[in-house]
């Protein structure tokens, strides 16, 4: 099988590491070679963060380059716009509708673009936009936005739901499992 690429983008602190771990474990359980690349350290402090997940029969480079991602999962609208060039022609963009102003916008040095999702759709991109934050709060905490988006993206991939449930059980501490399962279900039912 040709190598497939998934990017998870967002703002440092939004939980992209857990999301990549869940997807990574789903793929490993299906017998693929998997590589997941994360960024730690300074850029995690509220900066733009990106995690790469690649799978197939043979995966060499752990990073994804422009025009390569089959799916981009974005936790925030501006980050969806930033990383759009990494999406492959015909790829899918799954994004939360959440907006977080970056410091240059807060300071007035830059402007947060209007109508990001419409402008991306106008580029001919398949966009699935979900209010993941509200759904996460329904599940019990804003922090579960990442798992809501996993629920959304699970429908864009060919694996059985039980495989995702097993990965959740592997990656989430027991005391938060029920909450995260609820968040996942809300994401899966969304659209």
């Amino acid at each position: 099988m040709e190598t497939k690429s998934i990017m998870i983008v967002g703002v440092g602190g939004q939980g992209s590491l857990l999301a990549s771990r869940i997807i990574g474990n789903v793929l490993l359980s299906q017998g693929f070679e998997v590589k997941v690349s994360e960024v730690h350290g300074m850029s995690q402090r509220g900066g733009s963060v990106v995690t790469y997940v690649k799978y197939g029969d043979e995966v060499s480079s752990p990073v994804i380059v422009k025009g390569e991602a089959d799916i981009i999962i974005s936790f925030e609208q501006l980050e969806a716009a930033r990383w759009l060039p990494f999406l492959k022609k015909g790829g899918h963009l799954v994004t939360s509708t959440q907006k977080i102003d970056p410091m240059p916008v807060i300071n007035g040095a830059a402007v947060y673009p209007d109508d990001i999702i419409e402008k991306i759709k106008a580029q001919g991109v398949d966009v699935i936009a979900v209010d993941a934050l509200t759904l996460a709060e329904q599940a019990g905490t804003a922090k579960a936005s990442n798992v809501v988006l996993m629920g959304v993206v699970s429908k864009k991939m060919q694996f059985e739901e039980s495989v995702w449930q097993a990965a959740l059980e592997q990656c989430v501490p027991a005391k938060f499992l029920e909450l995260n399962k609820k968040a996942f279900a809300l994401g899966r039912a969304a659209e």
Binding site: V11, G12, G13, G24, N25, L28, E33, V34, K35, V36, S37, E38, V39, H40, G41, M42, S43, Q44, R45, G46, G47, S48, V59, S60, S61, P62, V63, V65, K66, G67, E68, L78, A81, R82, L84, P85, F86, L87, K88, K89, I100, D101, P102, M103, P104, V105, I106, N107, G108, A110, V111, Y112, P113, I116, K119, Q123, G124, V125, L133, A142
Partner: protein, 575 residues
Amino acid sequence: MKKLMLGNEAFARGLYEAGCRIASSYPGTPSTEITEEVAKYDEVYAEWAPNEKVAMEVALGASIAGARSFCAMKHVGLNVAADPLYTAGYTGVTAGMVIAVADDPGMHSSQNEQDSRHHAIASKVMMIEPSDSAECKEFAKAAFDLSEKFDTPVIVRMSTRVAHSQSAVELCEREEKELIPYTKNAQKFVMMPGNAIRRHPEVEQRLVDIREYAETSPLNRVEYNDTKIGVIAAGISYQYAREALGNKASYLKLGIVNPLPVEIIKDFCSKCETVYVIEQLDDIIETHCKKIGLNVHGKDTFSLLGEISQSIVREKILGETAEFAEFPESVPVRPPVMCAGCPHRGLFYCLSKLGVTVSGDIGCYTLGATAPLCAMDTTICMGASISGLHGFNKARGAESEKKSVAVIGDSTFMHSGMTGLVNIAYNASNTTVIILDNSITGMTGHQQNPTTGKNLKGDPAAAVNLEELCKAIGIKSVRVVDPYHMAETEAVIKEELAKDEPSVIISRRPCALLKYVKHNPPLRCDHDKCVGCKQCLKIGCPAISVHDKKMTIDHTQCVGCGICTEMCKLGAIVK
């Protein structure tokens, strides 16, 4: 069983399986998780040392005592540990000693992108370089065997993408290694001139022996496909080349990067039409090839700067570029910022307001340099805030002493800041030093340090009392402030700057991300009172923004620290 593991986690597994008994490190991105992970194995004693020099000396001492030992650091940490490294190269080891050094091409979280291979060459110590998680584990184990076989410490060079990528790893059992009996051997381990002079020829002979081993070692391997293009690469660069070129090229993948072999490289080059050396940062393999008379491409094709990727290899060698869509407008950058509730924010707002010169250091608080606070003049390396400001003040005199401060975190102060403070007391400059004590090593992801009262395993440990330490060094004026109280903090800074003596201010408040720190409910803005004056934006809190001329607080980020309420004269920020 196959498990998805970070390169660093797999490295730790390799240490465990190889029977490593002692590990001592100082945290540094992207090396930190190796030591955190190895600490989870009860069979391995693991600790955070105050700095990399101490860590490496602990590892060498343990090796001399007969235990397989380990230390880890980031690339710039190896500069700090260079002193023991260069002489450990002379003494060699008793039990195996492995050093992990993690380079950061692209500077994801570093102040420079130096290439650690230079240290291996200069210290004449063997260096190997893995390219994925499975190799991290295998190379860690091989490093111990090679260390014992050739009587040398062995450096394993990591890089950000290898350290922080997960791939599948096959787990094995631990092979227990008993302590090697200790026998005094002063000629080998007392490096005074008379002994060292006899060790040097052995160091040179060892390099010859390892080079010969490298010619046939399984760590270096050749893959022949189409031979029009030949690629010589090590570590992550091999993975980029392999992804870009697949079977359109042949590969010489070097696992041993110091010393480099001669014959297998010559043989590979003789079988390929055009040979490219693909290496991140400096032209070390390329220079070696040219020195042995081979015509290869290297930095004529690839940059000395930053990271390589599969797209760069594809473009430079095959002339292929990818198609992609772009967002039709400019996208504002999102630089890292101090977190909402960060205790450093209040302190830096005071420094910004006072307009003082700020001699900075390495840690989360380096973000005080960014807009809107912009309260930092220099950042060089661990500890340089204090010693650098002493030099600055000696150069510019009393005028400068009244309007400058050094800022340094608790962990960085223990690492190499306190010697600078000794210099201030001893050589008398009226310098003001602010220790930002957030009770943790923050930027690298919450590691304990000698001031926190806990060790690496989280067990209670002796805690350095910063006030008493500074007094013992000879600083008479030591003050403690809470940076959540900005008015008081500002007043204390002014008082200490005015004094004709050196002083230390400890700005104390635990990191807001620590699990034990209780958060207040998020604050909100009373829009009837808010006039949109934007005073609250001056503290640079990521939870605060102004929309339609009214301030809003992002309830998902706000931890209710309340420093914004000091900014609002109208009392519009409420619980």
